[in-house]
């Protein structure tokens, strides 16, 4: 996207990362007249090269081919995007504003000045920028119809999700790269805006170290593809490398460690999926994969959300083996699936193992119980919907009520908290304005600053906080 030969660049703000945090900051600042350089480790992925083929697109669009795991009980698969757009390139596009009770908790327990009223203008600004709209029942497809039927029969609270999509035709492969560019990820919304406003966007540029001089940010050292080193000189640095990589970058830089919180407090929203065989044709791959939610149990930390995909996805996720797996897959067109996500109170950590992240996460008893309860609810849901057979993600013979940690087949998509915000420098890495405690000109704007689970998908929260940061820097509250 931009010249790779530069060895030294001068900017007013250097932004690291082009996902939900970095891209809004870069666009808002550039449009405000600030000279911005944005470093993105991955590449620009041309939609012309998307194939909707699972192994190929996982290898190309995901960090470590989507094969990042946590270590602990149980191990959890943690797929993350890599490239312009970050994880917004490969997520399902679901948009929730931060729940009011979460904001209240952040104010109460972490001393962060955030309220619905104060964030509302930022949410509105982001929602317009990424075209947030509610999925229609027609576009949601047959899988959502099955689940809706079950929820209505049980009188559970449900709704169609809001997503950042425009002109979506329900291709069913949000997580493999949207072939219509209907999903308005940051790579086709904020990044072009930033470029048009003069920001320099450098792909293949891996930030290695944040430079600090006399207690103030001075720039970033990055390694370019091919091995050359790039130095971006900038008095303001915004780190948005994501919850897993931001703490590693800061640790490499010898920064932000004073509170002892850097790399800790990792929450994940662990999730799983339940399949069911219906009598009707469902065709789960037709329509928006994540289009419906059931929030009836949200107060217990259990959120049910859509999850679907093509046969290759189902074949990977279906909790069966051998002949039973083959038999279920023969009936793929009759398969329905829905996801279960837990607002976790367990906490993990991220440390460096050589150049790689070592992610530790052990599930606590409370979250295990949430999964047990959630799986029981999922079984009720599909039974009420008229399922002929229900496939719980548990070993044969294990009832949900008796499931152990090691019985769970989990994935997670929302790592948060490893550079948490807290008003007190001894308790958090950044303050409520996302400034790193004790350093001038250094900010963090990604999921790592969120001090607790949200219970809902976090991209809109991250974008709104990033927008608030950019606007405050433009207003002169920062130092741009």
């Amino acid at each position: 996207m931009s010249a790779r030969l530069a060895q030294r660049l001068q900017a007013e703000v250097c932004v690291i990362g082009s996902g939900a945090g970095g891209a809004p900051v870069a666009a808002e600042l550039a449009e405000g007249g600030v000279r911005v350089a944005l470093l993105e480790e991955g590449a620009w992925h041309d939609p012309d090269h998307f194939t909707a083929r699972s192994p190929e697109m996982l290898a190309r669009l995901y960090r470590e081919g989507g094969q990042t795991f946590t270590l602990g009980r149980p191990p959890i698969m943690l797929p993350l995007g890599r490239g312009i757009g970050g994880t917004t390139l490969i997520n399902s596009g679901t948009c929730f504003r931060t729940p009011a009770h979460v904001l209240a908790r952040w104010q109460r327990e972490y001393g962060i000045e955030v309220s619905e009223d104060s964030l509302r203008p930022c949410f509105e600004r982001v929602e317009e920028a990424i075209s947030v709209d509610t999925v229609t029942p027609e576009l949601a497809g047959g899988n959502a119809a099955v689940v809706r039927r079950g929820a209505e029969r049980l009188r559970w609270s449900y709704g169609y999700l809001r997503r950042n999509a425009r002109g979506c035709v329900g291709s069913g492969v949000c997580t493999l790269g949207c072939p219509t560019s209907a999903k308005q990820h940051t790579g086709i919304t904020y990044i072009p805006r930033a470029q048009r406003a003069g920001a320099q966007i450098l792909t293949g540029a891996q930030a290695k170290r944040v430079l600090i001089e006399r207690g103030r940010a001075a720039g970033v050292l990055a390694r370019l593809e091919g091995g050359a080193t790039l130095e971006v000189r900038a008095p303001t640095v915004v780190v948005a490398a994501g919850t897993i990589n931001t703490p590693l970058l800061l640790k490499r830089s010898g920064l932000a460690g004073r509170s002892g919180q850097l790399g800790r407090n990792l929450s994940l929203h662990p999730a799983t999926a339940v399949f069911a065989r219906m009598d009707e044709i469902v065709d789960m791959a037709r329509g928006v994969p994540q289009s419906l939610y059931i929030d009836h149990f949200a107060e217990q930390g259990i959120m049910l959300e859509g999850s679907a995909g093509p046969p290759a996805y189902a074949a990977l996720a279906l909790p069966l083996t051998g002949a039973r797996h083959a038999e279920a897959m023969r009936a793929f067109r009759q398969l329905a699936v829905f996801g279960l996500m837990v607002s976790d109170s367990s906490r993990g950590s991220v440390a460096a193992l050589g150049s790689r992240p070592l992610i530790r996460y052990d599930m606590n008893a409370a979250d295990l119980q949430r999964f047990r309860d959630g799986l029981v609810r999922m079984r009720e849901l599909f039974s009420a919907a008229g399922a002929r057979e229900i496939y719980l993600p548990l070993p044969a013979g294990v009832d949900p009520e008796m499931a152990r940690r090691r019985d769970l087949k989990l994935m997670a998509f929302h790592p948060l908290g490893t550079a948490r915000a807290h008003a007190r420098p001894d308790q958090g890495v950044v303050d409520g304005s996302l400034a790193v405690h004790g350093l001038r000109g250094l900010y963090i704007a990604d999921g790592s600053v969120l001090p607790s689970s949200l219970g809902v998908n976090p991209q809109l929260t991250i974008m709104a906080l990033a927008t608030r940061l950019a606007l405050s820097l433009l207003e002169g509250d920062g130092s741009v």
Binding site: P47, M77, P179, S181, A315, L316, A317
Partner: protein, 91 residues
């Protein structure tokens, strides 16, 4: 078997995208999962230990000859997406 099938290359690219240490372990587990007795052994282990079997299944059902009769045609989805993208002038 998948190892000789049309999707062996895409599965290999997928594995090659994993961290180095993990690649070796995954290849060994995949070799086990390809054998009936190995697959039976893996099915007795924890869900994550069954991942190799899941990956083989993912690659198998990614094959257009297998997925098309199940109502999924990736090439058609992509062609429609490109057509719409161009018609509407999207990036």
């Amino acid at each position: 078997m998948l190892a000789k099938g049309p999707d062996a290359a895409s599965l290999e690219r997928f594995i090659a995208a994993a961290p180095l240490g993990q690649q070796a372990a995954m290849r060994a587990l995949l070799a086990l999962a390809r054998r009936p007795r190995g697959a039976a052994l893996l099915s007795l282990l924890s869900p994550l230990d069954q991942l190799p079997s899941g990956l083989l299944a993912m690659a198998r059902y990614d094959d257009p000859d297998i997925s098309r009769p199940l109502g999924w045609d990736a090439a058609a989805v992509i062609a429609r997406g490109r057509r719409l993208r161009r018609a509407e002038g999207r990036p």
